[in-house]
Amino acid sequence: MANRIEIGFRQGIRDALGEKIKKRIVGHLRIHVDSVRTVEVYTIDGDLTPGELEKAARGPLSDPVIQEFAIDRGMACGFDWLIEVGFRPGVTDNVGKTAAEAIAILTGKPVRVYTSRQYVIGGIRDRCALDLLTRADAERIASELLANELIQRCEIIDGRTWDPAQGMKPHVPRVMGEDRPRTEEIDLDCPDEALIRISQERVLALSIEEMRILRDYLKNETVLARRKEVGLGARITDAELECLAQTWSEHCKHKIFNARIAYDDGEGHTREIDSLFDTCIKRSTREIRERMGAGDWCLSVFSDNAGIIRFNDDWNLVFKVETHNSPSALDPYGGALTGIVGVNRDPFGCGKGAKLIFNTDVFCFAPPDYAKPLPKRILHPRRIYEGVREGVEHGGNKSGIPTVNGCLVFDERYLGKPLVYCGTGGIMPARLNGAPTHTKEILPGDLVVMTGGRIGKDGIHGATFSSEELHEGSPVTAVQIGDPITQKKMTDFLLVARDRGLYRTITDNGAGGLSSSVGETARLSGGCELDLKKSPLKYPGLNPWEILISESQERMTLAVTPEKIDGFLSLARKMDVEATVLGHYTDSGWFHIRYGEETVVLIEMSFLHDGLPQMSLRAAWTPPHHAEPDFSEPDDLGGAMKEMLSRLNICSKESVVRQYDHEVQGGSVVKPLTGVVNDGPSDAAVIRPLLDSFEGFVVANGICPRYSDIDAYHMAACAIDEAVRNAIAVGAPLNRLAGLDNFCWCDPVRSEKTPDGEYKLAQLVRANMALYDVTTTYGVPCISGKDSMKNDYQIGAVRISIPPTLLFSTLGRMEDVRKAVTMDVKKAGDLVYVLGKTFRELGGSEWYALRGAVGNSVPKVHAKTAKALYEALHRAIRAGLVASCHDCSDGGLGVTLAETAFAGGLGLEVNLRDIPAEGIGRNDELLFSESQSRFVVTVSPGSREAFEAFLAGCTFARIGTVIPEGVLRIDGLGGQRIIKEDISALKAAWQKPLAF
């Protein structure tokens, strides 16, 4: 029997959530409402007595100081509309789970608890007592703000028909359905059209070529003979088909990055590229490591869930960045939450396992003030922004991992798919129990153990779904909601198990679920045998194939030796974490999965992993030509400066930053916000992971998708340069920086839907060429990376593709964090320097974007020159000669000068004529050109000579001084004063746009 316990705030107690929702109804939906109150509803499916219900309501469920409760009656009264939002069956309900645990501790009785929330809305009463808030308004509030129909249901109640004594009837969203697990067999011996249909209907995302390979595999006599021994025939099982589709998905196999590409460079030359991954990314890292020789500090690159580098003799650092774009488009909160707790498991499941020490997140959205009609199935960008922000907040904060930095990028083309990049770093002892920790080993006979959460239907088809564009039939089950606390409990347990040597190898369950985690690790021993029937399920009714590929979160897979298994399981029990032996690893050469006694999958390991032939693709580069904007230098450059500071890609992101805990774990050194009142924009984060040492590390990002509109080569080069110079700016040495590449592209395979696929693939080729060129020159090896190649939206005739986007992230070791430098000016009288040369490079700039133009003069990286500058600047920083250092990126020098000044609360007096420049005759162009590898640095007068000596041979100039008055004074090329603005006004312009 089910009961409802409703919890509301007492009269007179502020309902902060209600107030926030009210603000959004009024501000975003432009609907008049007078009041919004919230009521938390717990629907308890169990056998509790009235006394126990009251005890639960009074005890863990409500706070006696501020709340009151109602059992099996309505709490709300005197409203116009009540909207109750609850989860659909099977959707993760973290609060419900916690409530059930609390009630079980309290009463000793097992119950299931489902939560929902009521929004109790009162309309404005005017003198005529008209109904100002209609049902249509309430429906709009429900669908556009409160509920996501993919995962939630909502009920709208009219206040006039409400009877509180009756309340609402308990609704139990239990997963219904018959519990008759079965395995279907599919005949692939059929014509192409039928094969295509099978792939499409089952969301397999397999091409016709791939389907044909499966068809032919099942005609092999040896295969058939072996299959016969375990009771399988010539037809493929659904579990086999699904397992192969996951393993062979673009998401897991990176088919495009590994393809053979014929690249036409647009100048009459065609080159064969045998895998971009091998020839650009891996090759660069290999060459850099060879150059480093005995000093090579890379430990594990591209082979594990994350990259591993040496921190010092005793500790290693681990880093990985992933994206979670498609799920975040459908359910921003759940998608992003799953993104962050998902990427947490990569460093955690890397080598022997790392303790997680930082997150860094980069989001690309359409502008939150988007005002045009929305295409079908697309949520408003503001909702995506808020949902993603909150998902990452809950995922990061509740896991106790500091979100040390990140950034937000805005472009209308992210309307179809937002990009949600989540990165996580970890630290692991270099050796444990005498053995290195950065390698993995499994021997036949080791047990396959799954630990953490249970398996449900959530996240089925995540890997294949993200391998195609967002379309009408995109599966709802691909959406899932992470549970950070279940994961935290699991990681607490596994770190203890790791240190006690209770397991041999660890990996995470992400895309593809068990099929992927066990399939991958089984390569280390040469096979495996599993029984899916042993898997703990969230609810009955899952078919074997669903158990195999479900992407239910918070699960790790471990290889445990038989002699350690008792210790492992008993520690898990003690620490209240579920752990289950599912089978064992073998050296049979077969991926063998049973459900009880019945074999449901038997695939050769070699076919599973190497049966997929290399794709052959064509790429053709034709440089685009854009109109050059035609406008003259504005008279009011101070006004222009403020306009630039208010650009979404430039303005302050403080409202987001503050909602992330960036200091937990106690090692925060350079925070995301800095300066005299803690609100200036830091270039990079500096962290001290070991509290009894001053060694530290730097984390930085670079991203500039707009440049792709001109040439993705330069987009990539600039992104890498930005990530590197941000790290340099706070004090990292260039020779200890590692990189991570994370490519998000629009479909680059030519097809009917993508007629310009060859151009998009050429963009990818060029971006990779830049990656090779710049990283090898800098000596910054990539240690891990990821790609997401289908960031398109297609419903009906509407197609929206993202601009090709590379996020480059850097992780660098710093010998002594006390040498770190921040971007804010420090003292009046300090000298202002510009480092690096400014060219007329406004193509793709914010200055042109402000005028709706793209242009053609894209910024270029002069890597050799920049390298010398970075090394010289680093020596000066190490010598303690630099008071402040801020890099120039979006908005160029002008924005950097303004930020440097207002962050430090002091003015600047500078002269543009002193700036080292080439080919620029206009003040606006000099101020807003986005040339790369530049910094604004301030130096105390006493350090002038020493500083300049360090920089000898590099392009730099002293352009002015820091002044005590809070004014930015800039003299132009003609000698006249062109800008005189209060720094408080500049700061206000910079802070305003996203201060909601």
Partner: protein
Amino acid sequence: MPQRIRAIVITGNGTNCEMEMAHACKLARFDEVEIVHISELLHGTKQLDDYHFLNLPGGFLDGDDLGSAKAGANRILHAAVAGREERLYDQFARFIAAGKLILGVCNGFQLLVKLGMLPGLDGHYDRQTVTLTFNDSGRFEDRWVYLRVDPGSPCIFTKGLYGLYLPVRHGEGKFVTLDEKILERLHREGLIAVQYSDENCREATLEYPANPNGAVDGIAGICNETGRIFGLMPHPEAYLHRTNHPRWTREELPEEGMGLALFRNAAAFLRSANF
């Protein structure tokens, strides 16, 4: 011969500041500092009676899913300790009765309040009379705040301190009392050890963002009548070294962070006490 002093830092179920809290105890020269997972207490392999200083660090107990620290408090109040005829709460009660020290930070403060251990008026350590609820802003915030210290408070931890500058990192930190009478008693008995204040640490403030959550009378932390149980929303363990300070690159600061003083006071008190 001064007494050997032992600190315990409880973790598990979503606690996440245990490492820096333990580090603070080490810097304050506790003889033994142990991070103990709550399962060890529930399984009876460790017990509170063996320690002198109980640290309840920040985090999100059970995700704060039922309201901050609610499910965590429920566990301590009702879960039985394996192999013993007692609940975890009984060990807490003995610890308090023995006159030992308890410090709850952020989620640990929320836990103490929801267990009823703070303010624990008239020695009732199981009656909730105050709470910490959602910030007025309706959002989690990480920002540094100035704190005024009440020199007349019996609080052991803040003895000799004038003011503090520490980060808050919470979504549910607004201090509220059941009624005016309780608020008035907290003031009268000096139990309000720290208040959000202006940057001179002189005047308590209600103004956002100096008062980051809308706490009544700017209350940031309270102690019980003996001053031995203390809870606060700001994080002293997050400021143990000058490089933790948000403006360390522009201000002359002592090497040691301000937060450490609280732990030093705890150590000094315990060293001179007899148990």
